[in-house]
């Protein structure tokens, strides 16, 4: 039975997206994750990470965001911890994705995509930390891309 995990920290800087992709690729190749699911998890991580660095801090200081990815029994678990402002994405207002073009906004789409892609999302505020735990059940057995 495959039981894999990876942990890494990223600074609150957009340049860290390359490291995010690299770490995720390492993790996914270990568990043989298909392209579609790899992109979906990458998207979720990118959206949450960029939200945190864009809106979570009101200073110019360096902050670290911790990621823990694990895979067991066909489920991917992602845990993200940051010391940004209290924010629970589960309670974020849903964007209007049916209104006319002129009224369409991007705000909230990252969280919306996350909620649609992941099966489970739990937020905790512990001390000065936001902790977000997300899970996705892989419906097929992981297969390497051919």
């Amino acid at each position: 039975m495959v039981n894999t995990q990876i942990s890494f920290e990223l600074k609150n800087n957009l340049s860290e997206l390359d490291t995010l992709e690299e770490k995720l690729n390492q993790f996914c190749s270990r568990i043989g994750l298909v392209n579609r699911c790899l992109c979906e998890i990458n998207l979720v991580l990118e959206e949450l990470f960029t939200n945190t660095i864009s809106y979570g801090y009101d200073d110019e200081a360096e902050h670290w965001i911790t990621f823990k990815l694990s895979y067991q029994n066909g489920t991917i678990r992602v845990e993200i911890e940051d010391d940004g402002a209290p924010f629970n994405p589960i309670e974020a207002k849903e964007p209007d994705i049916e209104c006319a073009l002129e009224e369409r906004r991007i705000g909230g789409l990252g969280i919306h995509l996350t909620k649609k892609i992941m099966d489970e999302m739990v937020h905790r505020r512990i001390g000065d930390k936001n902790i977000l735990i997300l899970k996705k059940e892989l419906t097929d057995s992981p297969l390497k891309d051919t």
């Binding site: 957009l14 997206l17 579609r36 992109c39 998207l43 959206e47 049916e98 073009l101 990252g110 919306h112």
Partner: protein, 110 residues
């Protein structure tokens, strides 16, 4: 990400190779708006070699679509991989943006 730009029959065509994310979308935004500023009204984005898109990429596409619509022009996207198309569908972008399977189909929509 690589952006290959060309013009055909008065339509600006952008072929994107790689990933359209928070890091690479500013470059795409600049290229699209340069072309819009020069008066281009009709645009096709060829996503055949686009491996990934995030909401940062959607933001550029939304902005361009709105501007082109105001100029009575059109923006058509073609040849998307299925998981890229999924992002557009989940975001509800397929309700206002023509998304077709091939470049030929894209020209028919303009």
């Amino acid at each position: 990400m690589e952006i290959i730009e060309k013009e055909q029959a008065g339509v600006s065509i952008f072929k994107l190779v790689g990933r359209l994310d928070s890091k690479t979308s500013p470059e795409f935004e600049k290229r699209i708006f340069d072309v819009i500023e020069k008066g281009s009204k009709n645009m096709i984005a060829d996503f055949e070699d686009l491996d990934y898109i995030s909401s940062a990429g959607l933001r550029v596409i939304l902005k361009a679509t709105k501007d082109l619509k105001r100029a009575e022009g059109k923006f058509v996207l073609c040849s998307m991989k299925d998981y890229v198309k999924e992002v557009f569908e989940i975001s509800g972008f397929d309700s206002f943006l023509p998304i077709v399977d091939s470049m030929d189909d894209a020209f028919k929509k303009i």
